[in-house]
Amino acid sequence: MDQANQQVESAPQPAPVEPEAMNMVATLGICSAGWLIPGLAHILIGRWIRGLIFAASVLLMFALGLGMHGKLYDLEFDEPLHVFAFIANIGTGIPYWIAERFNLGIGTMTWPSYDYGTTYLWVCGLLNYLIVLDAFDIAQGRKP
C-alpha cells in the first residue's frame, strides 16, 4: 500500500503551461497600436472583452472630460510644468489629436465643471498608459 502511495506521489506532475511570449518587435507594435487607439492592444492579443471594456472606459472618460469643458494641454515651452499635463493628455492617443484638430479641448475656466473635466482628461490618458503596460506584460508572457 505504501509502495503504491509512493508511486503515485513520485509520478511526474504535468508542468504548468507557461504563456508564450511574442517577439519584442510585435509586442512594441501592439503596444503602439494600443496607445493610439485605447483597448486595441488587448483586442490584437485576443482579449476581446477586456479590450472593449478598456476602450469604452477610456473613451467615455475622454468624452465626459471634453463635455465638462476640460482643457487639453499642448506642448508649451514657456510653461514648463504644463509638460506633465501634456504627457498625461497624449496618453489617450488619436482621440487627443482629433479633439485638438476640432478645437474641442480649449477649456472654459469659468465653467462649473472645468476642473473635473480637466482631471478626467488627464486620468483617461494615464489609465491608457497602464492599459498599454498590461498589454505589454501579457504579450511578453509575464501575465496570464
Binding site: 478598456f54 472606459s57 465626459l64 465643471s113 489609465l127 492599459i131
Partner: protein
C-alpha cells in the same frame, strides 16, 4: 454638460475602479471583488476628506 460634484466623483470612481480591477486581477470573481473594494474606497475617502475639510474656512 454640468454634473454635480458627487455625480462626477461616482463616474470617475466607477471607471477607474473598473480599469484597476481588470489590470490587477486575473479571475473574474477577484476582479469583481477588487473593483467593488476600490470603488467603495474612492467614495469613503471622498466623504471622509470632505467632512475633514468642512469646518475649514475656505
Amino acid at each position: 454638460m454640468i454634473l454635480s460634484h458627487f455625480t462626477a466623483l461616482v463616474i470617475f470612481a466607477l471607471i477607474v475602479s473598473t480599469v484597476f480591477a481588470l489590470i490587477t486581477k486575473n479571475e473574474p470573481r477577484e476582479q469583481f471583488r477588487y473593483g467593488v473594494f476600490v470603488f467603495l474606497s474612492f467614495l469613503a475617502v471622498a466623504f471622509v476628506v470632505g467632512w475633514i475639510m468642512y469646518p475649514l474656512p475656505l
